[in-house]
Point group: C2
Chain length 108, copies 2
């Protein structure tokens, strides 16, 4: 039996240390991405697949939002079989932008 | 002699307490507005007129950027004769979004 591997390229990541503040702010200044970050913050790392989030956007738009989150150093992703699972890069992002995630995660 | 008054309506303001976090982030996620906020932070209140900033945008765009900054509770403006002068609402904004302005004002 041939092992099935993902047809997708592995996702590219940017470490928070390499992210300008403007990029971090822009990544978080979006209602869908705020929802993604808030939902991720409530779950253990690597337990949420991209399709598991309750956001009102299509697959292509969702993929774009995750690309923005990876590019801002907010989310790490890896492929596990057919699923792409996620981790909020909380410690690394907090170290680079102290307090910023806390503002987004608190009640408005 | 008739005293000349400004033909403009007084600017409308939003207090930081009434600003959602997404609005604050979006206001700061722009290179021109980051420059305006940084320049304002280095000057005493009410000493900078809107025309005094070194930003590469026209008058209409600049006016829009200040509208966004007022709407996010970041800037207060008042008319003094022909000039519209500015104040960074640092204390009020810091009270509402602790640490956010500091991230924008530090070196990147």
């Amino acid at each position: 039996m041939v092992e099935r591997t993902s047809h997708r390229a592995a996702p590219e990541h940017t470490h928070p240390d390499d992210v300008p503040v403007q990029t971090a702010l822009a990544a978080l200044a979006d209602p869908v991405r705020i929802t993604l970050v808030r939902e991720l913050s409530g779950c253990p790392a690597w337990t949420r697949s991209c399709g598991s989030f309750d956001v009102p956007v299509g697959k292509a738009a969702l993929s774009h939002h995750f690309t923005v989150l990876r590019g801002a150093g907010l989310v790490e992703q890896r492929d596990e079989g057919p699923k792409r699972v996620n981790r909020l890069r909380r410690e690394e992002f907090d170290a680079r932008f102290p307090g910023l995630l806390a503002l987004v995660l608190r009640e408005d």
